[in-house]
């Protein structure tokens, strides 16, 4: 059988991601679509470490490390320079975790989205500040344990609807994606590369240590997040929603939750609450999928 993705690797082995890191898969797959005419900027995030210490890097494309809240503005600056230098074809990407996107980087993200800067903004979402030791972020879901939402006082706020916030900026392209569906992600990026303006890609990237899950379950968890409707996979093109991975019959959320230690403390009624939150959000999106 022919591989469904290009064989070329722009991410080398030997990087410093944990065993079974979802963010590693996210980068590897994305690079296959983006190709070598690509530049990155990273804020503080897991990938700050994954890439490797001085004088090494696991990427075969240029990368500028930057401050935590500055991803989108930095990418906009790189893009402006490339345009000024007549190298407009290069794809410029911000690549940030959920903390750097949902929380501290939201202002710069909003600014770049509103200006419709011609950049990609990737958020690889592992639903907490994993790099600093699993503290809750605006992306942490209701019910989850983190080191700042301990078991007795687990997170009581729902995950911020970042995709809706981005959609409110009327950007030309945005999509959610999952590392469990690499062909879907690949296809979206190939398409988005041809679109001028702001492109937002939100990838769910399970984190075995942070989610207290087995490293071999990373892809399974990413898939279950989609199949349960916890992380629906869609794209929004010029305001039009399309579900790109269909889930006509959704699995119960428990199947996803029970594989993760971060939800181990939840009682039956808590699981029911999560199911309720997920159903509500899914119904909302479903209406948009149907136009």
């Amino acid at each position: 059988m022919k591989p469904t993705l290009p064989l070329d690797e722009l991410m080398s082995p030997g990087h410093l991601a944990c065993q079974g890191c979802g963010a590693g898969i996210a980068m590897r797959t994305s690079l296959k679509a983006l190709g070598h005419d690509t530049m990155f900027t990273f804020p503080a995030c897991c990938w700050t470490v994954i890439d490797g210490p001085f004088p090494y890097s696991c990427l075969e494309v240029p990368l500028l490390h930057m401050a935590f809240e500055a991803t989108a503005a930095t990418a906009a600056g790189i893009k402006a320079a490339m345009r000024a230098l007549g190298k407009d074809k290069t794809t410029i990407c911000g690549w940030a975790g959920d903390g750097g996107t949902f929380d501290i980087g939201l202002q710069a993200l909003s600014g770049a989205a509103e200006r419709n800067d011609d950049i990609f903004y990737f958020c690889y979402d592992n639903e907490a500040y994993m790099n600093t030791g699993i503290q809750r972020s605006g992306a942490t879901p209701w019910g989850a344990w983190t080191t700042t939402t301990p078991v007795k006082h687990f997170k009581k706020e729902v995950k911020k609807s970042l995709d809706d916030i981005v959609a409110a900026h009327k950007v030309p392209y945005q999509a959610t994606a999952s590392i469990a569906y690499p062909e879907d992600l690949y296809k979206k990026l190939i398409k988005a590369k041809e679109i001028r303006g702001f492109k937002f890609i939100h990838i769910l990237a399970p984190c075995p240590p942070g989610w207290k899950a087995r490293p071999e379950d990373t892809v399974k968890l990413a898939r279950l997040a989609v199949q349960t409707g916890i992380f629906p996979i869609f794209e929004v093109e010029a305001g039009k929603y399309a579900q790109t991975v269909k889930t006509p019959t959704r699995k119960p959320v428990l199947e996803y939750l029970k594989l993760q230690g971060r939800f181990k403390h939840l009682k039956e009624e808590d699981v029911a609450e999560i199911q309720r939150i997920v159903d509500m959000r899914y119904a909302e999106l479903e209406k948009r999928f149907q136009g």
């Binding site: 059988m1 030997g14 991601a17």
Partner: protein, 97 residues
Amino acid sequence: MAKNRTKIEFQKLSELPPMVQSLRSMAANPTGSWRNLKPVLHKENCIQCTICWKFCPDAAIDWVDDYPVINLDFCKGCGICAEECPKKCIEMVKEGK
């Protein structure tokens, strides 16, 4: 353009770039020693579906002559390949056995 995959040692201040700049690939850093469990491929059952190759977070599975080749210099032993293999033809065995 593949980066140089060998280690680099600086002797003098003057050899350093003015700012922190990568000069070599992390492929100079074999991460195989992180592994507790080792994937062993039973090629005879492999249906060449590429799933193991596709999902490796470490790019430690190469696709060579239509089959996966696990690069044990780098494989951290996460077990995603074994878990995702539809034919269960990758077995995770204890390191050193």
